[in-house]
Symmetry: C2
Subunit: 327 residues, 2 copies
């Protein structure tokens, strides 16, 4: 239709080779008129690239994986790369079936996304020759991982409370077996030290649940508590903060006037529903997913990528519960 | 390695053609020894099928899409079909880019999954020759849709309350502009009529939020309420139920002794965290996703599929808030 050879048409459509601009434009106009689509499968066979990635996740709720997937997809779609979603839950057999499927589909790389930074997905990666990045999950030695900088995020929250004049800042957090717990505790201690404050007692450690937060409020503010009470509580996640605030409301303790509360996760469905709305640390997981995607593209392109874990910055989302926002 | 022709090897591996069982077994053993994997892209070129589906969703939280995707993937992986995830939010431009990507990847079909049954995704499907199914979103005339049977689900909840002896069953629900609202209201009315009960007033309609549930409690149980109070509240979603129950706790109204509460969605992160845990209608979205996947496979296989919307059954998950469970 454009009166050129197949080779010339290919060069024109792929923006390669040298030719008269008019020729290139004529081919591209013909392609548009014919509604021509390059056959991705044929191109994949020739280039030995499928322009696909596999995202394997055991995070059933999608609390962590959804923003990671959103950031990953956003970075990929503009580069012509599409992402397969494989929900493997915690089932090694389903993990294996999905891993086989991804190899059969000739994905160019794999993103493994978990729900805690200290656990690997139940996958046997031995003998796998694909580029792999690990997101919000444990990486093997020499592997490449992406996670939020929990310690710095916690320090951000506690420094904000100290900056608002709070002096007795308690910490209520999850089970000590989770790596996130000592990291967030370290951030609490560091920010307190930098503000010249002492920790308000030892951290209260329990479940990552509203129920534990509810009970922790009784320990900190109940009738058997001594005269010394916290004027701020930094919570290890938003669910703990939610339960704590519900209990404080029932006890008649005012937030933020009597006590400021800050959570961790910025899970908006919780953080915006507390009364008042909850200040919380956002792990910026969408950006974590985007960075993981850009890195795996580099690996696919054969660029050298340093092994190790990248810890990306969190940000503090200020709402009314800390007493620092106007709203 | 097996001492047979390429054609025989292909037939042996694809379980086609007639040959001695020993020959087939010899080829398969050689394939295992060589760790042979069929090249999915080459097979796709030959068969004109890519064994891939595109899942396009505008449900950012993943509240609805995650269980749909889990059911879809589970049904697909055993059939060698993998699913591309495309998060388009509500952005028509991003929707177009993702739709183009899915066409370029030669997907065999598209599943469009939304976050409300009465809104279509922001996609121009004209000129598209692929099989498409619509899940938890509006379908065009002649299209094929899958959604939960909201009316029957609501009736299930209200019949359960009536069966427990509740007689004054109120309904607190979302904005009237959502199709789910009149459907759930119709189920409430039908179950009441079948139990010989009258509606307790008109439904209270507001936002799908905890905040609205919190305020609705004041309207139903506050100091300015008349002597007649509900002994049960059927809520249009779990967030409304959560806000209502939090307000009841502050007002000293006991759940379930003074009033039974039932939600809708069975969003476990809410339903298990209320005090007491919330009885709720589960829309069985994983099964919705599975059925949608099996249907699109039929369409890809050229089977005739009736147009129209399939409404699949909900189930009631009984917890302590309705007073009917032992736990």
């Amino acid at each position: 239709m454009a009166g050129v050879s197949v080779a010339t048409a290919s060069k024109a459509l792929n923006e390669r080779g040298s030719m008269m601009p008019q020729t290139r434009e004529r081919v591209q106009a013909a392609a548009r008129a014919l509604n021509f689509r390059p056959n991705a499968m044929a191109r994949a066979l020739v280039s030995q690239r499928s322009f696909t990635l596999g995202l394997l996740t055991n995070d059933t709720y999608g609390r962590f994986t959804l923003p990671v997937a959103a950031g990953l997809s956003e970075a990929m779609v503009d580069r012509g790369v599409s992402v397969f979603l494989c929900a493997i839950e915690d089932d090694p057999e389903r993990a294996r079936v999905n891993l086989d499927a991804m190899q059969e589909k000739c994905v160019d790389g794999l993103v493994l996304a978990g729900k805690r930074v200290d656990r690997a997905l139940p996958l046997d990666l031995s003998g796998l020759s694909l580029p792999v990045v690990h997101v919000y999950s444990a990486r093997p030695p020499g592997g490449i991982g992406f996670e939020p900088d929990d310690e710095a995020g916690a320090a951000l929250a506690v420094a904000h409370l100290a900056g608002l004049g709070r002096r007795r800042i308690a910490h209520v957090t999850g089970p000590v077996g989770f790596a996130a717990v000592p990291m967030r505790e370290a951030g609490w201690r560091r920010a307190l030290a930098e503000a010249g404050l002492s920790p308000f007692g030892e951290p209260l450690s329990g479940e990552w649940s509203e129920d534990f937060g509810f009970r922790a409020a009784g320990l900190l503010f109940g009738p058997e508590t001594g005269p010394e009470r916290p004027d701020a509580v930094f919570c290890g996640n938003d669910q703990i903060a939610r339960g704590l605030m519900d209990a404080l409301a029932l006890m008649g303790v005012g937030v933020p006037d009597d006590v400021a509360v800050v959570g961790f996760d910025n899970w908006e469905i919780f953080a915006q529903a507390t009364r008042p709305a909850l200040t919380s640390v956002d792990m910026a997981l969408k950006e974590v997913g985007r960075q993981a995607g850009l890195t795996i593209l580099d690996m696919i392109d054969g660029k050298r990528v340093e092994p190790g874990t990248r810890r990306l910055p969190c940000r503090l989302v200020v709402r009314r519960s800390c007493g620092g926002a106007g709203g």
